[in-house]
Symmetry: none
Subunit: 229 residues, 4 copies
DNA sequence: AATGAATGAGAATTCATTCAT
DNA sequence: GATGAATGAATTCTCATTCAT
C-alpha cells in the first residue's frame, strides 16, 4: 500500500504497486552503478522491460523515481532491523543485535546505502525531509534500545543522540568505505571489532556481565570476542 | 605547484595556478550548494569573474573541475591536521589532538566534505583513485598516531584500520549529519562525547593515566570530561 | 443524421450521433477556452464523461474532432439565421433581420466563432474546404437578400460579394473584437450603429422609405434610429 | 532598438537585433504557412540558417518567437500607415488614405495578418495584452482621422469606436477572406467598393464636396468612383 | 461497445564544449 | 591569453493513438 503520496495516472492500486516495484528495482540498480544524473529514463524503462512513456504514468518526474528508490532503502531498514530483534527482551542484547542487523542490512544494500548518501541532496527540500524523517524513525530503534540499557544501568549515562549516530555511522561506514574494507576485513570481523570498541567504552560493570552472557548464549549473532571483557 | 596532472593550454605555471585557484574557489561554493550536475560551467565562470571559454584553457572537461575541487578538500585535510599536532610528542595527545583537529577542519569545510561524499563517485575511476589515495594518506596521520599509542601500550591492541575509520567517520559524521546535530549539539560537545566514548573503550590503564594528563594540561583542546576515568 | 463523412467504427447510427454530440460539446468548450493544440483528447473524454479510447471509436484522429466542432458552428449559423427571417417577404426587412440575427447568433457562439477563425487553418485542405463551402452557403442567405433588394431597387447596385462580407464581418467582428467592445457597447448598440452606417451608404430613396417602414413596424428587431433618414 | 523586453543571453544589442530579425523572418514565414504549433524550432533555425541552440540565446521560449513575430506585424502597421498620410492635412483625405494604406499593408502582410488572428490567443495573457495595446495604438490613426472629420463636419456624428473597427475590419477582411476574394476581385476594386459604401453612409453634404475633391485630385489613391455622389 | 493501460515517436530546451575574433 | 557567441548532441517529458481485456 502506498505511503509515498506520489501521484499516478493509473487508478488500480495493485497495478501501481507492481509497476512501481519494477521501476524502482531497475532504477536502484542503475542509480547505484551510475548515479542519478548519469542514469537516463530510457535506461530505467529498458531494464524494467517497459516503455519510457509508462514510467511517467507512475511518476510525475524523474526525481520522483529517486524518491521512490530512497524510500525503499530506508523502508527496508525500517522493516529488517526490527525483525532481527523481535522477541528479544534483554535490552543489551536488543542493542547488540540491532547494530549487528543494521550492519548486515547495510551489507545487503551496500550500493543503495551509498546511493542514499550521494543522492539525498539531489531531492527537492520537501522530498529530502521525507527521507530524513524515516532515517530518524529507523535510528530510533537503536536509540530506544540504548535508552533501555541506560535506564537499566547496563550502559552508563551517555548522550543518546551522539552514540546512536556513532553506531549508525559504523553500520553505514561498512558501505561508505567498502572500497577500503573489501580487501582487508570480513563483515563479521568488522562488526566484532567495532561493537567491541564501542561497548567497552560505555558498558557498566553490570552491563559487562550481562553483555558477555547475552553474547555467549547467542551464536547466530556473531559478536563474540567480548569474552575477555 | 601543480600535482594534478591535469593538462592546461596555458604555459605559464604561475598563471595556471592562479586561475585554477579562482576556478576552484567558485566551483567549490557552487558544487557544495547545488551539487556537481546542477552547477553550470557558466555559473562557475561568472562567480570566478572569468569567461566560460577561459575555464577550458585550464581544464579539459567539467569533471576536471570536480577533481580539482575534491583534491583541494583532501589537500586541506592533509595540511591542516598535521599542523595541529606539530611539535607534540606524546602519542596519545597526538591522537586526541588529531581527531579534534579533524573534526574542526570538517566543521570549517562542512559542505565540501559532504560534497566529497556525494561526488567522488561522479569521477572517472582513475580520478576517483587519486582521491582515495589522498584520503588514505590523510587518514594515516590518525593511524600512525594510533600505532604509536599501541606500541607504547597506551591503547590496547586493536584493529588499526577499523579504529582509524571509526574515528574518521566521527569527524565526517559531523558534516554528514549536520542537519541532525545542528539543533542539538555544539561542535565541542560533539567532540567531547565521541572521543570520550571511544577512548574509554580502548585505553589501557597506562593510557588512562596518560590520557587524563594529556587532556588536563591542554585546555585549548576541549576534550575534558574524562576526569572520572 | 450524419453528413460529415467521418468514418466511425461503430455501426448504430443513432449511437454515433449521440456520442459525437457528447464529444463535440465537450470539445467545443475546451477548444474555445484553450485552443485546439492545448486541448488533450483525455480532457475532452473526461469532460464528455467517456474514456479516451471511446473517442477513437467515433473519430479517426484528433483533427476530426475539430472538423466536427467547426461543422457544428457553421451548421448552427445555417439553421438559426434562416429561422429569423422565416415568413418575412419584404426583401429589405429580410436583409436587416438576417444581419441582426447573424450578430445575435455570433453573440451566442462568441468563442466558437473566434475558434473558427483561429482553427480553420489547422485543418487539412480538404477539411478546410468543407468548412468554407458551408460558410459560403450561410452567407448566401445574406447575399440572396441583398440581390433581392437590388433587383427591387431598394438598394443601389453594389458589388454583392463585397457587401455581403462587409456585413458578415460586422457580425463576426462582434466576436473577434469582443475584448474591445465588451466595456464599450451593448450588442444592440453595436448592431444599430453598424447597420445604420451601412444602410445609409447603400439604400436608394425607395429603400429609405421602405427601410424606415420595415424598421418602424418591427420593434423586436432593435434597429431603430434610422427614423431621420 | 529593442522595445520587446524579451531577455537575451547575448549582450551586444546590435547582434541581438540582427539575429532576432533573422529568426523573426524565418518564423513569420513558417508560422504563416503552418501555424505556430506545427512549426518546430528546428525548422525555424534551419530556415534562418542558424542552429537550434542559437534561437534560445535570443529568446527564452518558443512563445517568445511568436510574440516577436506578432509585434513585428503590428509594428509594420504602426510605421507604414502613418507614412502614407504624412504631410496630408485635409482630414477627409487623411482618413481615406489611411484606410487605403491599411488595406495595402494588409495585402503585403496577408499571411502575417491571418497569423495574428489565429495566434494571438496562443500567447500568455500578458503577451497578448502587449499586442492588443499596439493594435489599439495603430487603430487610433484611423480614429484620430475620423474625429478630425467629424469635428470639421465632414462626417456626421457617429460612434467612432464602431466606425473605426468597421474600417479596420474591412482592411483585415482582405486578408481573412482572401481565399474568397482571390478569384473575384483585385485589391483596388476591393478598396474602392468598401470605401465607397462606407463613405456614402457617413459623409455630410460638406464632406461629399470635400471628398470628391480630395479624391479627384489624387490619382495615386485609387478611390475614384465616388463621382456621382 | 467500452475501457484505460501502454506505447513510442517527437519536441522543446539545455549546456558542455569549440572557435573565430 | 581571453572572450563570449555558436553549436548540436542529448534528455526529459508529452500525448495521440493503439489494443488487450
Amino acid at each position: 500500500m502506498d505511503k509515498t503520496n506520489i501521484a499516478s495516472h493509473v487508478e488500480n492500486p495493485d497495478l501501481v504497486d507492481r509497476r512501481r516495484k519494477q521501476i524502482v528495482a531497475a532504477a536502484t540498480k542503475l542509480f547505484s552503478d551510475q548515479g542519478f544524473y548519469r542514469t537516463k529514463i530510457k535506461e530505467i524503462a529498458k531494464l524494467a522491460g517497459v516503455s519510457p512513456g509508462l514510467v511517467y504514468l507512475y511518476v510525475r518526474e524523474k526525481e520522483d523515481v529517486l524518491l521512490l528508490v530512497l524510500l525503499q532503502v530506508v523502508e527496508d531498514y525500517a522493516i529488517e532491523i526490527p525483525k532481527a530483534i523481535e522477541g528479544i527482551t534483554d535490552p543489551l542484547e536488543r542493542l547488540i543485535r540491532a547494530v549487528d542487523a543494521y550492519c548486515r542490512v547495510v551489507d545487503r544494500h551496500r550500493s543503495a546505502t551509498v546511493l542514499a548518501y550521494r543522492s539525498t541532496k539531489s531531492l527537492s527540500p520537501e522530498r529530502r525531509l521525507l527521507i530524513q524523517e524515516r532515517e530518524i524513525a529507523t535510528n530510533s530503534i537503536i536509540s530506544d534500545a540504548l535508552i533501555a540499557c541506560i535506564s537499566q544501568k547496563l550502559i552508563r549515562p551517555v548522550n543518546v543522540d551522539v552514540l546512536t549516530y556513532q553506531l549508525v555511522l559504523i553500520a553505514h561506514g561498512w558501505a561508505l568505505k567498502s572500497w577500503f574494507y573489501k580487501s582487508r576485513l570480513t563483515l563479521d570481523e568488522y562488526i566484532n571489532h567495532n561493537v567491541d570498541n564501542m561497548l567497552r567504552g560505555i558498558l557498566t560493570k553490570a552491563g559487562q556481565r550481562s553483555g558477555s552472557a547475552a553474547i555467549r548464549c547467542e551464536s547466530a549473532c556473531k559478536v563474540t570476542h567480548l569474552g575477555g571483557m
